[in-house]
C-alpha cells in the first residue's frame, strides 16, 4: 500500500489538506482534483501525472502514479511536493499518528520513536483533517509514539474528534503512563465520549519484567496507577499484551493479576510479535515460536474468559494454535499490512484466519501449514 507520492509543486506555499475527487462535476474549496487536463473550477489544489502547465491553482505535477488514491481519500500536500494519504475512505483501519515521540522504548516497538518535536505540525495537520473525515467513519485509531505527549493538544484533538465524529469508535493506543497523574485522567473523562476506549499495554505482573520490556524505569507502576485512575473516572479500557520470550514466562501470572487488579478492563488482547521496527534488532531476546507458548496462552486466555472477561488473540494463525483457542482469534491486521504464506493458499480455514503481517512473512512460526477441510 502506497501512502506517499511526490511531484513538482507549483504555487504551494503552505500545508494543504483536502479531499480527493476525480469528478469534474464536483467542486469545492475542500476538494483536490486529480486529472491531467486542468479544469476550471473551485478546487483547493490539483494533482497531476502530466508535466507542468498553467492551472491557476496550487498544483503538484509529474507524479508518477495516483492510482492509490480513491475519491474521498484525504491527503496533505506540502510545499515540497509530497502528497501524503492521511485518511482512506475505503478502509476500516485509519490511524491518526499523534506524534512519533515516546517516553518508552519497547524492545519490540513496531514503529520506533523519533526524538524530534513533530507535535505542532501533526496537531495542525489533524486539526484540519478531522473535520473532513466522513461522519459515518466507523472507527478511528489514535496512535503514536505516545499520544499523551501532545499534552493539552491531545485532549483538544479528542475533543475535536468527539465533536466532529460523534458516531465513530475512537481507539487510543497509549502506554497509559501519563494517567498516573490523576488530573489527566479527569481531563480525559471530561471529554465525555462514550465511544472512546484506551488500549494500554501491560506486559507482566512484575515491574522489573515490564520495565525491561518497555525500557523505562517506573513505567509499570505508572501504567497500573494510570489504569486505576482511568477506571475510576469511567474511561473504557483495553489491556494489550504482546507475546514474546520476555513476556511468556509470567504470562499466566499476568492473567491472574489482570483479573484481580484490573478486572474493570473491557477487553484483554494477546498479540503476536510483529517482525518490524525494533524487533529484528532484538530478535534474539524476543523470539519464541508461537507454537511453543500455546500452553501458557491457552491457560491465560481460558482463565480470563472463564472469569467473564472479553478476550481476543491478534496477529496469530489458526494452524499454529490449538483449536480451543480459535474462538478468541480475530482478523485484526490492517488490510494493507495483511498477508499469507504460499502454503496458506490451499488452507481450508484461510477465510477465517487472521494471517500474518506482511513483514512477518520472513519470521513466522515453523508450524504454519494448510489445514484440511
Amino acid at each position: 500500500m502506497i501512502f506517499r507520492a511526490k511531484g513538482i509543486p507549483l504555487h504551494i506555499n503552505e500545508l494543504l489538506v483536502g479531499i480527493i475527487t476525480r469528478n469534474p462535476e464536483k467542486q469545492g474549496e475542500q476538494l483536490i482534483f486529480i486529472g491531467d487536463a486542468a479544469p476550471y473550477g473551485d478546487y483547493l489544489a490539483i494533482l497531476s501525472c502530466a508535466p507542468a502547465s498553467y492551472t491557476g491553482l496550487p498544483t503538484v505535477f509529474n507524479i508518477s502514479s495516483l492510482d492509490h488514491l480513491a475519491d474521498g481519500d484525504i491527503v496533505s500536500i506540502g510545499p515540497d511536493g509530497i502528497v501524503r494519504t492521511v485518511y482512506r475512505t475505503n478502509s476500516f483501519y485509519n490511524t491518526i499518528l499523534a506524534t512519533e515521540r515516546c517516553n518508552s522504548n519497547c524492545l519490540m516497538c513496531s514503529q520506533p520513536p523519533k526524538d524530534k518535536n513533530d507535535i505542532p505540525y501533526l496537531f495542525e495537520l489533524y486539526r484540519r483533517v478531522i473535520p473532513l473525515i466522513p461522519k459515518d467513519c466507523v472507527e478511528l485509531t489514535v496512535s503514536g509514539g505516545e499520544p499523551t505527549l501532545m499534552g493539552e493538544r491531545f485532549f483538544e484533538l479528542l475533543e475535536l474528534i468527539t465533536r466532529e465524529l460523534p458516531d465513530t469508535e475512537v481507539h487510543v493506543l497509549t502506554n497509559g503512563r501519563s494517567f498516573a497523574w490523576d488530573h489527566l485522567a479527569e481531563r480525559l473523562a471530561r471529554i465525555d465520549n462514550p465511544r472512546l476506549m484506551l488500549g494500554i499495554p501491560v506486559y507482566a505482573d512484575y515491574y522489573q519484567v515490564h520495565d525491561h520490556i518497555v525500557q523505562a524505569r517506573g513505567a509499570f507502576d505508572q501504567t497500573i496507577l494510570g489504569l486505576h485512575n482511568l477506571a475510576r473516572h469511567g474511561i473504557r479500557l483495553e489491556i494489550r499484551v504482546v507475546l514474546h520470550q520476555q513476556s511468556i514466562p509470567r504470562l499466566t501470572r499476568l492473567a491472574r493479576y489482570i483479573f484481580k487488579n484490573l478486572p474493570f478492563a473491557e477487553h484483554v488482547t494477546f498479540m503476536g510479535l510483529e517482525y518490524t521496527g525494533y524487533t529484528p534488532h532484538n530478535i534474539e531476546q524476543l523470539w519464541i515460536d508461537p507454537y511453543d507458548y500455546n500452553n501458557e496462552l491457552t491457560e491465560a486466555v481460558e482463565f480470563l474468559a472463564g472469569q467473564g472477561m472479553h478476550v481476543s488473540i491478534y496477529n496469530a494463525q489458526l494452524c499454529v494454535m490449538p483449536e480451543r483457542l480459535w474462538p478468541y482469534a480475530r482478523k485484526s491486521i490492517s488490510d494493507w499490512k495483511n498477508d499469507y504464506l504460499p502454503a496458506c493458499e490451499s488452507c481450508s480455514k484461510l477465510d477465517d484466519c487472521g494471517g500474518l503481517f506482511t513483514w512477518n512473512l520472513k519470521k513466522c512460526s515453523a508450524y504454519i501449514q494448510p489445514l484440511s477441510a
Partner: protein
C-alpha cells in the same frame, strides 16, 4: 500537563538488571501465613491473594534472607502479589487500598436479607428443629398484620437498593395468605422507594399447590426447600405423619420446576448424625434430582452438640471427614465433564480467587448479622439472625435486638445491643483471628461462639467454627495446589463455568 518525556542521549537497549530495584532491601506488607502440609505453607496478603510456597519461606522473608538474584521468580511473585515492597510506601499502595475497599464493599448496601418468620406452625417434626410447633393456633403462632407492616417499614429503611424478603417458618406455606399480604403490601412501597425486591419462600413443599405456584410464577417468587439426601435419610431426619416427607419433597420439586423453571428453586441439606455415614449417597441424590449444586451444611451447633467441647470436637471432625469425602465425589462428577459444585466451597473459593466482595451472612467480617441480615420473628421480636431466634426458643435472648412494638429502626440497628455485638463482629480484631492466615476468607460468628462456648468473643483453640473453617480452607488451597485440574474446576465453580 506533566512533561513525562525524559531527555535521553541514547536509545540503546538495557539489560533486565538495569530495571531492578537497588540493593536487597525490602519492606514487609501486611501478610499472614499458615502451614499447608509438611512441605508447603501458604502466604495470604491483606486483600486475600494467596501464594503457596515451600515451608520456611515466610521465616526467610521476615528474616530478610530472601535475595532477588537467587530467587528471581519468587521475589517477583512477592512484589507483584503485594507481600513485600522495595519502598516503605509502595508505589501501588492505592491499588491495594482499592482492592481492600472492594473486598469490604458488601457493607455499602448494609442490611439486604430480611427474614420474616411468618408462622411457627409446621406439619413436620424434624428432630433437629428447635423452633416449630405442630398446632392449629394461628393467633399465637402466626405473625400478626401489624408486625408484618412494621417489619416491611423497617426493611424499606435499609439503604440498600437490592433487598431480599425471605419467608420462613415453621412451614411458611401454612400462612400463605400472610405471605401474599406481605408481598402485595411491599410491592408499591418498594417501587416508590426505588428498591429492587427478591422474594423467597422457604418451604418443605409438602403443602405446595397450584395456587401457590401460580402466585409465585406471576410474582417471581423463588422457592427454597430442604432435601437431606435419599429417602432413607430424608424421611428419618424430617419426620411427618405418613413418613412421606421425601416423596412429597420430590413431587414438589418437580412441580416447582415445571411452573417456575429450574433456576428458581433451590434446595438445602442439613447434615445429621445419620447423614455423616452417607456422603456419597447424598451427593448422588442431589445430582440425580437434577441439582447442579449442593450446600453441604454443617451440623447445627444448637441441637445435639451444644456446650460440650469434647463432643463438639469429635462431631466436627466427623463432619470434616464427611465433607471431604463428599467434595471428592463432587469433583469426580466434574472430572467426568459435569458442572456440579459445592456451595460452601464456592463461597470460600470466591474469597480466595476473586477480587470481589462475597456477602455470605455466616462467613463475613464484620459478621453478617445486622450488617447483612435481620430477622423478624412471628411474635414481633427482632433478632440478629436465624440462629439467634433459635437460641431464643430455648430461653436465651442474648441476640434479641428489640421488638417491633417498641423499637424503631435506629433502636434496632444502632441500639445498645447492636453496638455491643459490633465489638465482636470483626475477626480482624478477635484474639486468634487477628493473626490468622485465613482471616480474609473467614468471618466472625458471635452467635455461634455464644451458643457453643458461652462467650460472644469465643475461644479459638476449641472453637468448632474455627476448626471447621481452618481445615476446609486449608484443604481447598492444598487441593488446588496439588492438582491443576482441581484448580481449573474450582475456577469454574467461582464463575459458573464448566471446566474444560
Amino acid at each position: 500537563m506533566v512533561e513525562t518525556l525524559i531527555q535521553r542521549n541514547t536509545r540503546k537497549f538495557k539489560a533486565p538488571d538495569f530495571y531492578a530495584g537497588s540493593g536487597n532491601v525490602y519492606f514487609l506488607l501486611p501478610f499472614r501465613f499458615h502451614r499447608l502440609n509438611d512441605r508447603k505453607e501458604v502466604l495470604v496478603n491483606e486483600v486475600g491473594d494467596h501464594l503457596v510456597v515451600p515451608t520456611g519461606t515466610a521465616a526467610r522473608i521476615v528474616q530478610r534472607k530472601l535475595r532477588r538474584e537467587d530467587e528471581a521468580e519468587l521475589y517477583g511473585d512477592l512484589i507483584a502479589g503485594f507481600f513485600i515492597a522495595e519502598q516503605q510506601l509502595p508505589p501501588l499502595i492505592d491499588v491495594l487500598a482499592t482492592r481492600y475497599r472492594t473486598k469490604k464493599s458488601f457493607l455499602d448496601q448494609f442490611t439486604s436479607l430480611h427474614l420474616f418468620v411468618i408462622t411457627l406452625r409446621c406439619e413436620h417434626t424434624c428432630h433437629y428443629c428447635q423452633v416449630s410447633r405442630v398446632t392449629s393456633n394461628k393467633d399465637e403462632f402466626d405473625m400478626r398484620y401489624e408486625h408484618i407492616n412494621k417489619g416491611i417499614d423497617l426493611m424499606l429503611r435499609s439503604p440498600g437498593e437490592y433487598l431480599t424478603m425471605e419467608f420462613q417458618g415453621g412451614e411458611a406455606l401454612l400462612a400463605f395468605d400472610k405471605i401474599v399480604y406481605a408481598i402485595e403490601r411491599t410491592k408499591p412501597l418498594a417501587l416508590e422507594k426505588g428498591k429492587q425486591m427478591t422474594y423467597v419462600i422457604c418451604t418443605n413443599l409438602a403443602v405446595l399447590d397450584e395456587d401457590v405456584l401460580a402466585y409465585c410464577q406471576a410474582n417471581n417468587v423463588l422457592l427454597s426447600t430442604s432435601l437431606d439426601g435419599p429417602g432413607f435419610i430424608h424421611n428419618q431426619n424430617r419426620r411427618r405423619p405418613g413418613n412421606n416427607s421425601y416423596e412429597l419433597t420430590i413431587k414438589g420439586i418437580e412441580m416447582a420446576r415445571q411452573w417456575l423453571g429450574p433456576g428458581n428453586l433451590s434446595a438445602l441439606m442439613t447434615t445429621t448424625n445419620l447423614s455423616l455415614d452417607h456422603p456419597l449417597a447424598i451427593v448422588d441424590e442431589y445430582f440425580q434430582q437434577g441439582f447442579r449444586s449442593i450446600f453441604l451444611r454443617p451440623i447445627s451447633p444448637y441441637g445435639f452438640a451444644l456446650k460440650n467441647e469434647k463432643k463438639n470436637k469429635y462431631e466436627i471432625e466427623r463432619f470434616i471427614t464427611f465433607y471431604k469425602t463428599a467434595l471428592q465425589h463432587i469433583l469426580n462428577y466434574n472430572r467426568d465433564g459435569e458442572f456440579f459444585r459445592e456451595e460452601y466451597a464456592t463461597i470460600i473459593l470466591k474469597k480466595i480467587l476473586t477480587p470481589f466482595p462475597v456477602g455470605y451472612v455466616d462467613l463475613n467480617s464484620p459478621a453478617g448479622s445486622i450488617t447483612n441480615a435481620i430477622l423478624f420473628n412471628y411474635d414481633g421480636a427482632v433478632y440478629a439472625s436465624d440462629e439467634s431466634r433459635m437460641l431464643a426458643e430455648s430461653g436465651d435472648y442474648t441476640f434479641r435486638l428489640g421488638h417491633l412494638d417498641t423499637h424503631d429502626y435506629e433502636a434496632v440497628f444502632y441500639g445498645e445491643k447492636a453496638q455491643e455485638l459490633a465489638d465482636v463482629m470483626v475477626n480482624e480484631a478477635l484474639p486468634g483471628c487477628s493473626e490468622c492466615a485465613f482471616q480474609s476468607y473467614c468471618g466472625a460468628d458471635p452467635v455461634h461462639n455464644h451458643a457453643t462456648q458461652g462467650s460472644v468473643w469465643g475461644y479459638r483453640p476449641t472453637s468448632t467454627f474455627c476448626q471447621k473453617n481452618m481445615e476446609l480452607i486449608r484443604y481447598l488451597i492444598e487441593l488446588m495446589d496439588s492438582d491443576p485440574q482441581v484448580k481449573q474446576i474450582f475456577e469454574g465453580w467461582v464463575s459458573q463455568r464448566r471446566a474444560s
